[in-house]
């Protein structure tokens, strides 16, 4: 147990942990919003994120080609901007598709929540495997040669050819904060604030809170619950698209099962912060990222997940509704 190492490097571990946690937080938003409105755990949200990461990689390959290049963040802004838009669009599209195909028929029939959960798990596997079989699917329409840069070796690691090299900006203690760190943390905070304002101040946001609080009364008050559910999934998808772009800037590679582990961690973060609570998703995500890093530092990287889940259990023992507890429906105007 190396506490000395932890204290000596605490600033570096905290900042890199916050950067990791920011990505968890953005994905956790999707889980927490859908749970708040539908009381449904959307297990397929991890695949919504994964499709976003592929959209980023594909856009980079489309504009840049497949030659490997290392660039600073500043010089990649154009292509990354296009990638961000593509990721948000694709993630949102997958989220809406999920809602339409996997959940709406069950909700309309009043099926038990357990059935919707099973449908979510099935959708998660199907989406992941469809990405893993994209070379065969391209083969059905005869496009596997034209699209080979996008679909070949479908089960291998798929890397974005542009490597974003972080530039050091300013030192905090003995750690040089980089532009990528600032971008990731800043973007997550900005998205969170924007979403929080949306839910609190706009008419759509009021609709979401109304359906979260009581779907029948909301319907009586003229809120179209189908539209609200679609909007919830859409927002979750957009957030996942942003998370996917930030993930690809930091890590640079993805594969069809990249969503799985990250989805489990993000769901944990959502529960940690209080499922159904937007600010809880942010706190939970950032806290989880930092705790994972501290756990790796003190016990060794193989204990990282153990530390994270033990923390979850301890917090739930003390506060069963999570850190912030309060649900989406009870957010004050």
């Amino acid at each position: 147990m190396d506490f000395g190492f932890l204290f000596h490097n605490i600033i570096e571990l905290t900042i890199t942990g916050l950067a990791l946690g920011a990505i968890y937080a953005l994905v956790a938003l999707g889980y927490t919003m859908v749970y708040g409105v539908l009381q449904l755990i959307n297990f397929a949200h991890s695949e919504v994120f994964m499709y976003g990461t592929f959209a980023v990689a594909w856009v980079v390959v489309f504009f840049h080609g497949t030659t490997s290049a290392t660039q600073s963040l500043g010089s990649s802004l154009g292509i990354l901007g296009a990638a961000l838009v593509a990721a948000m669009v694709l993630s949102a599209a997958i989220a809406l598709l999920l809602e339409r195909v996997a959940y709406r028929p069950l909700i309309k029939k009043g099926a038990p929540k357990l059935i919707a959960l099973i449908s979510a798990i099935g959708a998660s596997f199907s989406l992941a495997e469809i990405m893993g079989l994209r070379d065969k699917i391209a083969g059905w329409v005869g496009l596997q040669d034209d699209l080979s840069a996008y679909v070949s070796k479908a089960r291998d690691l798929y890397s974005s050819p542009i490597d974003v090299q972080p530039q050091n900006l300013f030192p905090v203690g003995n750690y040089q904060v980089t532009d990528v760190d600032l971008l990731v943390i800043g973007a997550a905070l900005a998205m969170m604030v924007a979403l929080d304002q949306f839910v609190r101040r706009t008419r759509f946001g009021r609709g979401i809170r109304a359906v979260a609080q009581d779907p029948e009364s909301a319907a009586l008050m003229g809120v179209n619950s189908t539209r609200v559910v679609q909007l919830t999934f859409l927002i979750g998808g957009l957030m996942a698209g942003v998370a996917a772009t930030l993930y690809m800037i930091r890590i640079g590679s993805t594969r069809q099962n990249a969503g799985f582990i990250l989805g489990v961690k993000a769901f944990t973060a959502a529960v940690l912060g209080g499922i159904g609570n937007l600010r809880g998703a942010l706190i939970g995500g950032l806290l989880l990222g930092v705790v994972e890093n501290y756990g790796s530092a003190v016990f060794g990287s193989q204990w990282k997940d153990v530390v994270a889940f033990v923390l979850l259990v301890l917090i739930l023992l003390v506060r069963p509704s999570g850190l912030l507890g309060e649900a989406l429906g009870k957010a004050r105007a």
Partner: protein
């Protein structure tokens, strides 16, 4: 009433039918339909068990390519008595391999196994194959403990991690000039085995160690540990995906030391995972020499892809089995004895086996990544 019973009966039959076909194996290659009674092993199959998909799937595909080349050459010379190949994709996982091993030993058309590909799956399935008496030659499983289990049917045509780890430690400290080496591994049998040998051989030069998980993508804690330890070299025991992501994040953090890994990372996919500029300067060792000059063109003609690490080893392993068939051996015991007494030179170098199944001569080569590509033609042998 009758209709619903009929529907139920049909559903059960369909489900049973589907599950029976699902238990079937993938069959690639030609198998002769007629069974010859003259004792020759015509229409039999070699089996391959290893990773064709997954984190390290590129390595398994190299091996399958080598086997297919050997079979193609053999079947051209014996067009009336062809041998086929049955592939079993374990994804490199010791959890999935045992069930596949049971399928292999229950298939009476399989006369020998080229594989298992990786050390974890070899340890998980060795007993099954030994008890069934099925001879196997692995082109790539390098963990030392496999040949210490007493499985007389298990052989490998590649040097083991004892040799590789010691050579790697020597390379880092003498040629690489490193004073402090940080060792990381991913806790799998092969990775831990190799990393432990390296750490022991480094002795006082080992600056610390850490263990990551397979599938982990964020290595920021390990990067912090490496930087903080003042290490000027890192040795990674594991496969190319995590190796590439680790070196990429080390370089992004501004670490300038030497990055070295073993044969699990010696693949062009390492460069793709790391990005060209992070991968440059990396040293990847392997107990395998570059393939002979004409091997790649012959390989490409059969497989439409370039040969890679373990292609020559798998080719030689398959040829040893085919040589046993040529010499008239057809029972597992005879084939196993043939392997034990085999001496020859294959595409991967001179081959003969000791009593435990290890190959007797082994040289470790250091492959460099230069100018954004892995140089597979000019490695340096490590003395």
């Amino acid at each position: 009433m009758i209709r619903s019973t009929l529907v139920r009966a049909l559903a059960v039959t369909a489900a049973l039918g589907l599950s029976v076909t699902a238990c079937g194996t993938t069959n690639n290659g030609t198998t002769s339909g007629s069974k010859s009674t003259a004792g020759a092993a015509c229409g039999k199959n070699l089996a391959f068990l290893g990773a064709e998909t997954g984190d390290a799937g590129a390595l398994g595909l190299n091996m399958v390519g080598g086997i297919k080349l050997a079979l193609d050459e053999y079947n051209k010379k014996h067009s009336s008595c062809k041998i086929g190949l049955k592939e079993f994709d374990s994804q490199g996982s010791p959890d999935k391999a045992p069930a596949l091993a049971t399928q292999v030993v229950n298939d009476s058309s399989i006369i020998g196994l080229v594989g298992p590909g990786f050390s974890g799956e070899s340890l998980a399935t060795g007993k099954t194959f030994f008890e069934a008496g099925l001879p196997s030659i692995s082109p790539s499983a390098t963990n030392v403990t496999i040949t210490q289990q007493g499985w007389t049917t298990w052989h490998r045509v590649i040097g083991n991690d004892d040799a590789q780890g010691k050579a790697d430690a020597t390379y880092l400290t003498s040629t690489g000039g490193a004073k402090k080496v940080y060792v990381v591994d991913d806790a799998q049998d092969y990775s831990k085995g190799l990393a432990t040998v390296v750490k022991t051989a480094l002795g006082a030069s080992a600056a610390g160690s850490d263990e990551i998980q397979v599938g982990q993508t964020d290595m920021s804690a390990v990067v912090t540990k490496v930087k903080s330890s003042g290490a000027d070299a890192v040795f990674y025991g594991g496969y190319y995906t995590e190796a590439g992501l680790l070196v990429k994040q080390l370089r992004q953090a501004g670490w300038k030391g030497t990055f070295m890994s073993g044969d699990g990372a010696e693949d062009p996919a390492f460069v793709k995972a790391a990005g060209a500029s992070a991968a440059n300067g990396a040293v990847l060792s392997a107990p395998a020499a570059p393939a002979p000059a004409d091997f790649n063109s012959k390989y490409k003609a059969v497989n439409s892809a370039d040969a890679g690490l373990y292609s020559t080893q798998a080719y030689d392993a398959a040829n040893i089995f085919l040589g046993a068939l040529d010499a008239g051996k057809s029972t597992p015991e005879d084939i196993n004895k043939f392997i034990g007494s085999y001496t020859g030179t294959g595409a991967s170098g001179p081959i003969s086996f000791d009593a435990k199944g290890d190959v007797t001569a082994t040289t470790i080569y250091a492959y460099m990544v230069k100018n954004g590509a892995l140089d597979t033609a000019n490695p340096t042998p490590i003395k």
